[in-house]
């Protein structure tokens, strides 16, 4: 009796294992997506809860399952600290059976997590950070830089301002990978177009008192004050520049503004500013439909990173479906073969260095008179075609690029 019971248990477990073995294309029987975002700090408006909801929406719209396995979304707060982000990513990959990490607002965190992803051979998709390292020295088959990057911002806003006649520049730069990388890219564009960089003042993340930095910018007598920061930092810098009268003789160029920043500044203060964004909620019916659903869940309009969180999660899940497995190398190959046409972009593709290539747009903030209602903030100035919006492969320092 006892023996037969043991036999039955053994047989059952062999069958059970055999059964999972036959369909074990999905590791741990779950496709788990981690959203590593700033949930509480200065960038929580740009990523935060909105990013988590965007990824959840994608998982739900995909049907909740892929290859018959559940899609699970988890999230964590990286506190804008690279060590916290990297430790969380490591833990997720080691023990949390997380297959892909999305959002990654904050360039410092994104860089640290990119290194972990490369080591652990798991996927990350960067939507909230701009640092060029993701597709250059830190590139791997497992990292995709999706929404925008410093090059595209520099060749959008930076170039447009230089072409309008802003030849001498002074930067107010946030002192970490994001600001420094952006300043570097814009400086290149300025010099290439015959301009001159007069200097830069570097301030820590989440600075509230910009007075000394603005005074330096005024003393430089540069025509353009380039604000190489974003979120609350950019809002505070722009406000301080106006209060100190810098805007009388000098022009501001905000190098990365989000729709939330325009919302925070208010149209009277922000009107006329140029900004480079990959996406705006009021572009066409698809974007408006997504924005409406997002607004119902989150209570505000989505920005380009949140739209990209949704779009890139869809791309990842489609790649898992097409590959028939969540094995990272197979998924990586599929993602680099497929074309993305959805509410985020048309005919977007992932290059070998991990750069997702798509059209970017230059926008101008509307005047209060032009705006017809809440969140109606931007009008399109021009389209930056995909092939001009991103760093040419020939300039890439990525070792996956064959030269």
């Amino acid at each position: 009796m006892k023996n037969s019971l043991r036999l039955a248990v053994t047989a059952a477990s062999i069958l059970a294992f055999g059964a999972t073995g036959a369909t074990a294309q999905v590791s741990d029987d779950v496709v788990r997506i981690g959203v590593l975002a700033d949930m509480s700090g200065i960038y929580s408006d740009l990523s935060g809860k909105g990013a988590v909801e965007a990824v959840k929406m994608a998982a739900e719209d995909f049907g909740g399952t892929v290859l018959g396995k559940k899609i699970d979304v988890v999230f964590a707060d990286h506190l804008n600290k690279p060590d916290v982000g990297a430790a969380k990513a490591r833990e997720w990959f080691d023990t949390g059976s997380v297959d892909m990490i999305n959002d990654l607002a904050n360039s410092g965190v994104a860089r640290a997590v990119a290194a972990v992803a490369k080591e652990k051979k798991r996927h990350i998709i960067v939507n909230g950070a701009s640092n060029m390292g993701i597709t250059n020295e830190l590139c791997s088959p497992y990292a995709i830089h999706y929404a925008y990057d410093a090059y595209s911002l520099a060749h959008g806003t930076g170039k447009a301002v230089v072409e309008q006649g802003g030849k001498t520049w002074f930067f107010l730069t946030v002192d970490f990978a994001f600001g420094i990388g952006l300043e570097e890219q814009v400086s290149k564009v300025v010099r290439a177009n015959g301009g001159r960089v007069a200097g830069a003042a570097r301030h820590p993340l989440a600075t509230t008192d910009f007075s000394s930095y603005v005074l330096q910018a005024q003393a430089s007598k540069a025509e353009i004050i380039g604000v190489a920061s974003t979120g609350a930092d950019a809002v505070n810098a722009i406000r301080a520049a106006a209060e100190f009268g810098a805007t009388k003789n000098q022009k501001l160029a905000a190098l990365l503004l989000w729709i939330e920043d325009v919302h925070a500044l208010g149209l009277p203060a922000a009107q006329g500013l140029l900004l480079t964004n990959a996406w705006y909620w009021d572009m066409n019916d698809d974007t408006r439909a997504f924005a409406k659903r997002f607004n119902e869940r989150v209570g505000k309009m989505p920005n380009m990173a949140q739209a990209a969180d949704y779009s890139s999660t869809m791309m990842y899940l489609n790649a898992v479906k097409a590959a028939g497995t969540d094995e990272p190398d197979a998924v990586s190959k599929k993602m680099r073969e497929m074309k993305v046409s959805d509410m985020f972009t048309k005919n977007g593709t992932v290059r070998v260095d991990g750069r997702f290539v798509h059209d970017m747009y230059l926008w101008q903030v509307k005047t209060p008179a032009e705006s017809k209602g809440p969140w109606d903030y931007l009008k399109q100035v021009s389209t930056i075609p995909a092939e001009q919006a991103f760093q040419p492969l020939s300039d890439s320092k990525c070792d996956l690029v064959k030269k």
Partner: protein, 335 residues
Amino acid sequence: MLSFPVSLRVSPAMKRGFFLVLLALLLAAPFFPQIIYPIFLMKMMCFALFACAFNLLLGHAGIVSFGHAAFFGGSAYITGYALRDLGWSTELAILAGVLFTTILGAAFGVLAIRRQGIYLAMITLALAQMVYFTFLQSSFTGAEDGMQPIPRGHLFGLVDLSDDSRLYFLVLACVIGGLWLVNRIVNSPFGEVLRAIREHEPRARSMGYAVDRYKIIAFALSAGLSGLAGSLKCVVFRLAALTDVHWHMSGDVILMTLLGGMNSVFGPAIGAVLISLLRHYFDALGAWVTVVIGIIFILCVLVFRRGVLGEINHLLSRRPATAVRPSKEEQNAQI
């Protein structure tokens, strides 16, 4: 001879048995990653060593340092630099970090011990902020982005440490070695002199002890061992970041020490484990973790001021006289 205010009336055999069981559990842990995450365990061990090293000053010499993050994080940066930019083997890189912080600790000591109490604490804080700013501005540290990725390197140029379980045993060995050293220092004649200075400095001086020299050596030893903990953490996470040199870390280690019990050798380790567990498992609470830890700290200070291990020791020592009275030597050789 001075004795501790609390004592553990448990036979040495029981103590030894407890340590052996703990050691066996720690040795077995990396083979069961589904129960406890080895990297988290390594992090806890680093903090345990850090807190015990810090307590050399606070608990045993009565010196409140508010600048220990400079040693913990500073060592991480030096080790990271040696591993990433100089390509040294892991043990040399860790040694470099420890050596750097030992010297730094002695330098802190020379300046800080000229004053006492709050002034001493403020001097250590000021010095630590200078160290913080130096690392923030140095080009090799990557400032806000952290220094990364740091290779884990090869032990003695031979053993590849990128494998988590190999690294685990290195960390375990280093932490046990470090804790053994802390225990040895506390229970040595040197430790006695430190406690004598803590209790009554003029008397210790009148007995002919070179008080200043003792304090400086205590500073250097505490800093060096804190540095060992910081270096190990840097190797584990392959990253050195400003968090570890920030003054928050100096505050955290005081919290760990007080929570665990400063009148013991290994109490701070328990505090470190508790705080790490709280941070880890209450992660979902987000910013509220700070509130939870704050409430626990207030409770600790109001209700069980001896700390967790201190209270346990106290309870055990109040047991009826059936327990064996410890000899004086045992009284000093606290758990």
